[in-house]
Symmetry: C2
Subunit: 634 residues, 2 copies
Amino acid sequence: MQNVYLSNYELNEAIEIYLKKLGNFSLNKEKISTWDANGRITCNPMFSIISSPHYNSSAMDGIATKSEKTFSASDRNHVILEEFEDYIVVDTGDPIPREYDCVIMVEDLIKVDEKKIEIYQSATPWQNIRPLGEDIVENQLIIPSNHKIRPVDIGALIAGGINSLEVYKKPVIGIIPTGTELVEPGTSLKIGDIIDFNSRVFSAQVSDWGGIAKRYNIVKDNYQEIKNTVIKASSECDMVLINAGSSAGREDFTSEVISEVGELMIHGVAIKPGKPVMMGKVNNKPIIGIPGFPVSAYFVMEKIAKQIVEGLQGIESKVDKVIDATLTKRAMSSLKYLEFVRVKLGYIDNKFIATPLARGAGATMSLVKADGVLEIDQNVEGIEAGTIVKIKMLNSEENIKNTLVCIGSHDPIIDIASDIMHQRNKMYFLSSANVGSMGGIMSLNKGEAHMAPIHLLNMETGEYNKSYVEKYIPNKKICLVKCVKRIQGFMVKKGNPLNVKDFKDLSRDGLKFVNRQRGSGTRLLLDYNLKKLNISPEKISGYFREEYTHLAVAAAVSAGDADVGLGVYSAATMMNLDFIPVCNEEYDIAIPEEYIEMNIVKEFIKTIKSKTFKEELEKLGGYDYTETGDIIYQ
Amino acid sequence: MQNVYLSNYELNEAIEIYLKKLGNFSLNKEKISTWDANGRITCNPMFSIISSPHYNSSAMDGIATKSEKTFSASDRNHVILEEFEDYIVVDTGDPIPREYDCVIMVEDLIKVDEKKIEIYQSATPWQNIRPLGEDIVENQLIIPSNHKIRPVDIGALIAGGINSLEVYKKPVIGIIPTGTELVEPGTSLKIGDIIDFNSRVFSAQVSDWGGIAKRYNIVKDNYQEIKNTVIKASSECDMVLINAGSSAGREDFTSEVISEVGELMIHGVAIKPGKPVMMGKVNNKPIIGIPGFPVSAYFVMEKIAKQIVEGLQGIESKVDKVIDATLTKRAMSSLKYLEFVRVKLGYIDNKFIATPLARGAGATMSLVKADGVLEIDQNVEGIEAGTIVKIKMLNSEENIKNTLVCIGSHDPIIDIASDIMHQRNKMYFLSSANVGSMGGIMSLNKGEAHMAPIHLLNMETGEYNKSYVEKYIPNKKICLVKCVKRIQGFMVKKGNPLNVKDFKDLSRDGLKFVNRQRGSGTRLLLDYNLKKLNISPEKISGYFREEYTHLAVAAAVSAGDADVGLGVYSAATMMNLDFIPVCNEEYDIAIPEEYIEMNIVKEFIKTIKSKTFKEELEKLGGYDYTETGDIIYQ
């Protein structure tokens, strides 16, 4: 059954219509102790019940006296005061009896005898007295209604005599995962199974927004079961989120269920990802049908569900923090939708740069890696590279300014170096993108990276890397920092069942190869050897299947959907494959000279020179680190 | 016993020394389910255990086939494919058998018969296939160590087969309130009692920082008791915060206790407020002695305790968000200390302005009202008005840009209007400062406020407000919006025991008056009447005691430490006092014409015209709102 979109509302329009149809939320209140109210939302303005301080007190150690008795005092005309007659002794915090109106501090007193003191300057009324209510006056407004209570508010409330107050109850949000293909985490996976993690992500989001998540068990694609669960949830919760499965090619009963037991107000909004969202009302509670693809689900949660969950607590959603950044690649988009593009941010040469991440609605890692979101309006057909765009932040500006941007060839050891560097100095982060050696060189050219790991073989000289940086980065002075020498070779199933020995074997019939993307050093290494042997790519089954990392190639072999791939030793061992060495290569890091003195770059070099890093290389095997961290070319 | 400061270290120096002496924290770890890990901190980098998707699947509804069979297909040369021989039918998400390498979508197929289809364009290898590991490859890094887990991370971790992981335990922070003067909230207060609220504020701060607060009962100023509690807490907790009572004029055993049972490393830091802070170690746990004054305590918590609590979870404290703002008043400071000045921020004429708030270490309301903090470096002697300063934000830029700045004469109804406006539109806030009518006019002059409530009587004409705005704001076109007519009068104890009838009575012997500050309309009203009656201020006992609000005056009378004050009817009734009317006056709001069209100003005017607001005025009594919200002068 194909799902037909009922509508294609513009996002804000859809929310407006939905909120109007929902009407005012009936917000539940509860009375709690002030000291348990941190982070909760006030129902009413809170006025103090008592004054603080609740009496006039001395702000000094000294005497409380009557100012008019001191007016004539001066250096030439000392005035004598008698205890109990004219003054009493007070300490800081002591109450001031009504008959006195000022305090003279002990430093300004000359003792005559036990009962007499002399003063040599006049006192002004109310000097050195902390009057009743100086901090808080009875009936004074302390915090307004719909205010999120902070620690300092708790202090002022208690000081003002308010020991309990009414706050909005945390709304209970029901979360229903549906789909016959869904299995619980930990189930041993069969082909076609999909682990349900969306419902766990929703639960965490809901609690971040101040709600209480109530997750229901997975419901198979069965109309009656879905209907029963929706009815149950709508009676037990203040709001229901139903994870409605993908929009196409599957059973999708959600919209029918909502229409039958309640009212489906909107189905389909002009956003991408997220268009198949449903908004409705069941049992007078809001219900939202969230698409199944993780990224679609994420944006529907953030852009639509969030403000309902917050609205149920009487709070207004905050607008996201926005920065300006330069777009590094063209961002395509459709005229039909408002598009949310996840971007990786970098801070290079004192400006932010934004690189779009994988677009797929299933790319959960793009959400993990994203530093921000670029929203491309409906009726805009993509944005050109180099444009300055507004980015809604998911990460802090500070973190991004402390992030080393590393773009180029992939090796698992870059992730390891990144982690060790962060351990050594928690202020610093490293972000890496795997676009191959040539891609890395181009990023340096365009000023989009601080460094680029490369392993590029000069086919004439047989030498690595130097000639490429000279040729392809003419306008920048580049240093090469030695990372490692590493072994490239064939990754094959344990025991090498097809007996792969060298490049000739790749063209063998029935043997399936898995390749790396164009521009990667490993791909160049392959092509160089095929050329030497006059083997044409078409001869190699699987030559056109491109993967972006050594691990992805190894995974394909280990899953048995390819027989052989070319890659590094460590990837093979991680995936428990056999490895047939082909050659050693120089895996170096190209860094523009202008960056080499940056603290974060220095920290990175210290990191790869560290004992910890070399121990990790030992564990992985296949790496030679004799020169690691040395500048081998400048 | 006077407390002598042992040291006067510069803040960062003190923290550095302290952290070095503490050595590495022994961080406790625990293994928890991935779906319970939101907000927790990873101990290790997390690598995926499985790939996602875990098989090659179709990204479309259509057929899976072999690309080489399609290469010759074109519009002029259709190619026929046979089911099972050349292709199989697949739905989105279906697995792709090893013998096929691409998917052609249903829209591009021409059906010949049940078992045959025709295609008119070639397919490229791996088109429309979602390959194994497209999202996550086995052994891929998902999140690094020391990473605060977010909802999206939970999704990726579960997708990567990680169902549990090691995180740092939440540190337990012991909180010990000490002081013989301290009483629990709710105790009926005797003179000299102080309600303990600091420990409740600390608890809330600690949980905001990811710790678990363990509050101990109040400990009297008794060496042995304090010692026993410190020993107990240091054995039960990962860190101890002891609220050490004020620094002077009191018993202070804390430093001695820390020195005896552990090590006191630092006592006294060059910050203000907060200088008497103590940093030490007991039973190998960090212990911090926090000063008793609430504001001192706040800054010691934020500037020192916070990074220890976060360090115990393996996280680095984030740097605060900073903005530039223009200082409206001179901010004094001492050369001896780094000073923390709480400021109220406003956004006027497209720039931020910062107004220092009350400085007293006891002023808890200054923390509630503060939008940010101005740090004045040691060796800097104050900062001049008009200087552009860096403000560390406590509130969001967005909120401040949506805040109406109202500076001038005080009336309780301004707080009420503020609350109703926020109810009507949760985006908007109103911040008010009570500096009297003349102060409000000066703020408008200097562009530091959007509006100023005033009630200024022209002593010649007997007319209100107009002549003042004309005379004192010559360079701005000002509108007067009618707020209310209100009754001013004498506030006296119930039954008017001293039988106060008019201004003559104020000079009576034995009668104690409480006054309003210079520049307030109420003060001018008093002086005007005294002048008419030729009564000299010196004749009036209490004339020189100045309070800033009607409520503060009423509080003084109700507490019996004055017999009479001049103020509005509503303040008298709130404090349950008798009220002897003196005159009606015009309480209007002066707004520069350039602001009158701002949405937030319009919203304010709508608010005071609203039924809700007028109902509140009815409840308070003493207000005439016939013209409320009308522009009465332009």
